[in-house]
């Protein structure tokens, strides 16, 4: 019983995770939950899984926290050098390929699925999915992490080409929120990052402000508030 309570705090930190990347008519929106778990314990309930590589390219990380962090550190370093040598901002495609190279060439040792999203002046907003194994696929939208299992049907129905920025943002928040509702390994807050020609905007949607889904009920400070709000003697026989 003691063992259950402490859980395995030495288990590898893994981001259960729900991550999403979506293109819209002007750029991309990246979204993610904020839960990092060590076995059954939530090691970090407010992690930031959307990581910057350059001014115009960000990634969503899933799988092993350590593996995804080290891959993003290496790619940030390589892109920094590349930008200096090139003399202009790196393209999203180049960033994605660098991630692919690390994922593919170390496929036996890494356990991380990554979504690369950004905006460059040549191709506009682009999303690249790089799952386990190092396959690279350019997609209008991408989903990943354990929570994404619950979103395949949702996106099949709700995704539309050529959405506006606000429509796309709402779609991403709704989707992460739905995944959090069903995936034990996803939770916390919803973070989004919007990247377009004008720059980068970060948004934060706290867990208590997300919509309620099936079998979820309104939150209260205390039962006493409920009792006092209704009739004077609600619990009389």
């Amino acid at each position: 019983m003691d063992r259950d309570a402490t859980a395995d705090v030495n288990a590898p930190h893994s981001m259960g995770t729900t991550i999403i990347g979506v293109t819209y008519n002007g750029g991309v929106i990246l979204g993610a939950d904020s839960r990092t778990s060590t076995g059954l314990y939530v090691a970090n309930r407010a992690s930031d899984k959307i990581t910057q590589l350059t001014d115009n390219v960000y990634i969503c990380r899933s799988g092993s926290a350590a593996d995804s962090q080290i891959v993003s550190d290496y790619v940030r370093y390589f892109l920094h050098q590349h930008t200096i040598q090139l003399g202009q901002p790196a393209t999203v495609k180049v960033a994605a390929n660098l991630v692919r190279l690390l994922s593919y060439n170390n496929k036996n040792m890494l356990q991380t699925g990554i979504i690369v999203g950004g905006w460059d002046k040549y191709e506009g907003g682009k999303i690249y999915g790089i799952p386990l194994g190092g396959t690279i696929l350019e997609q209008p939208f991408a989903i990943g992490g354990s929570g994404s299992s619950y979103l395949y049907g949702f996106f099949d129905q709700a995704w539309k080409e050529g959405m506006t920025k606000d429509e796309a943002e709402q779609l991403v928040v709704k989707a992460v929120s739905l995944a959090i509702a069903r995936d034990g390994a996803s939770g916390g807050v919803v973070r989004t990052v919007t990247i377009n020609s004008e720059g980068v905007t970060r948004n934060f949607y706290p867990g208590d402000q997300l919509p309620l889904w099936h079998e979820e009920v309104e939150a209260h400070n205390s039962l006493l508030d409920i009792l006092n709000a209704s009739s004077p003697e609600p619990m009389s026989t």
Binding site: R3, T6, V9, N10, R100, Y104, K107, N108, M109, P131, L132, G133, G134, T135, I136, L137, Q139, S149, Y152
Partner: protein, 260 residues
């Protein structure tokens, strides 16, 4: 206390693993992480079918990329051009196929840099792929693919296949994966030397429809590619109609309630 012991052994294990890995290359005792060894596939494509026809080669493959039992990607192009004369179709791990395409790109580039008027034909490309796959297999680090290679050069049609362990064939009709079991029997009965383009496409579609019914990883979105002396075309993605309107399907348990 159990947690302390676990921590202790974790440190020892890490130190040991680092020692072994610093010896580099594969010793028989190395753990999984130190050297590349036989892997498992993650994102996979299913069958590819290829046939010779009157004017050249026809090849078909669907556009699915499965992730275990999930149909994760539905727009993966598994038929690609190689140089002037060849067409490659791949099943198996998509990341390894993407790497193979890079190898082939380099091969064709170097061939073209000779600037000698000659260019690699399908037979040569097939042989190159066979060597690459076989040598990787010998190092216990395979490229997890089964490939179909077809083309026409100087009027000669060529169609071959090669598997992840380097087994290679050359034939009038080839297939990978499920295609071997479901498509080739159809082709053995109905293939002819003088198939027209239309007949060839219909034959391939008959095979692909069968695969759609019976292969769990098949996806109803496919491409058919044609390569002749003149050149190569890969069709736009399209879907096949399927047929479910049989009396036996509507009432499968008539006369035998409880059966299926």
């Amino acid at each position: 206390m159990p947690s302390e012991q676990k921590l202790g052994s974790a440190i020892v294990d890490t130190v040991f693993a680092n020692m072994v890995s610093s010896q580099n290359e594969s010793s028989l005792l190395s753990s999984e992480g130190d050297s590349q060894r036989t892997q498992y596939p993650y994102v996979t494509g299913t069958s590819v079918i290829g046939i010779k026809y009157k004017d050249g080669i026809l090849m078909a493959a669907d556009m699915g990329g499965s992730y275990g039992s999930t149909i994760r990607y539905k727009s993966v192009e598994r038929l690609k051009q190689v140089g002037k004369h060849s067409l490659i179709g791949a099943s198996g791990e998509i990341s390894d196929f993407q790497e193979i395409l890079r190898y082939l790109d380099e091969l064709i580039l170097h061939d073209s840099m000779w600037d000698d008027g000659n260019s690699l034909g399908p037979k040569e490309v097939h042989n190159y792929l066979t060597r690459v796959l076989y040598n990787r297999r010998n190092k216990f680090d395979p490229l997890w693919n089964s490939l179909v290679l077809g083309g026409v050069k100087n009027g000669q049609k060529y169609l071959g296949s090669v598997s992840m362990i380097g087994v290679h064939f050359e034939d009038d009709h080839v297939a990978t994966g499920f295609g071997n079991h479901l498509a080739r029997p159809i082709l053995r009965e109905e293939w002819r030397e003088d198939l027209t383009f239309e007949e060839g496409v219909k034959l391939l579609e008959k095979c692909m429809r069968n695969l759609l019914y019976r292969d769990r990883s098949a996806v109803n979105k496919l491409q058919i590619a044609k390569i002749t002396e003149e050149g190569l075309t890969i069709s736009q993605p399209y879907s096949l109609k399927t047929f479910w309107n049989f009396a036996a399907f509507k009432n499968p348990t008539v006369g035998a309630e409880g059966s299926w």
